[in-house]
Amino acid sequence: MATTTATPLVTFLLRIADDNLVLAQRLGALLARMPELEEDIAVANVCLDHLGQARSLYARAAELEGLGRTEDDLAMLRDERAFLNATLVEMPDVDFAHTIVRQFFVDAYQVPFYGVLCGAADPVLAGVAEKAVKEARYHLRRSSTWVVRLGDGTEESHARVQAAVDLLWRYTGDLLATDEVEATLAAEGAVPALDDVRGAFDATVHTVLAEATLTLPTDPYQRLGGRVGVHTEHLGHLLPEMQRLYRSHPGARW
């Protein structure tokens, strides 16, 4: 519902916000389930960073949209087809390796992506990006450390993290794909061109995977569609769990 009438900037903000909210929901579901206490606290930190980024972006999108919706409405009252996140972030947590590889791909993308957005014309978007790029750099440090340790670890950890790379790689296309939304924003000078993000992402992925003795799938297929609301089956299960309370008790405060 938002995509048909929204301005390019609002759509762009929702794409970024949805990435962060859906990932935060995935990470939040891991609390008290991580393999070590230290990792439990670490995943909570990362989760809250993404949630904070999402909130700021939803609030700005709601303001620019001017339809009287709030950040909560955008997060909790839109249906699956209106969510514009990359499909990667909705992929389930099969095991610790999948959690870490999903995070690593997101981090490798967000570091250069937020770096570019620091030059956005919208002061709120630029401000969020300034803060988020520092968070993303720490996230990347942590996730790439784990990818290397799991990949270059035991036979078991190597097999699990390679399986995660093999599965999740084909869902990274949404992160790097651009369409008329980004093209319009670049032409208007609202957001700098995102052309260099892919190169930086590829360089990070290749460096870290090489150190981790891991390989990318040779099949070039990429599953696209998240940016226009065409999702995997997994988002359809995630959203009701996330939105149920808000929808069952509209206007509830605590």
């Binding site: 070590e36 206490l37 230290e38 606290i41 930190n45 720490y138 942590r142 450390t145 340790r149």
Partner: protein, 95 residues
Amino acid sequence: MSAGEQGWPLWEVFVRADRGLNHVHVGSVHAADTETALQAARDVYTRRAEGVSIWVVRSTEIVASDPDGRDDWFGDLKPYRHPTFYEIPDAVGHM
């Protein structure tokens, strides 16, 4: 990674809250190596921006005084060792 039979080894964590202050012991974390120990320490003990610098030290590297020898080592209060008998001029302020 060298996880022992009891899991990851223990590291003591020291955080410096601000420039000019000392690193202060804040607790410990389990981690497989130095890098993950630093990251765990950052996530567990500085998540609300408590510090500007972190040290981690393997707990087995800490040499401690013997608690049973406490009386011999630290004994009774020796007030005469404190330089409390000088007149401090007002201009000195806090000392």
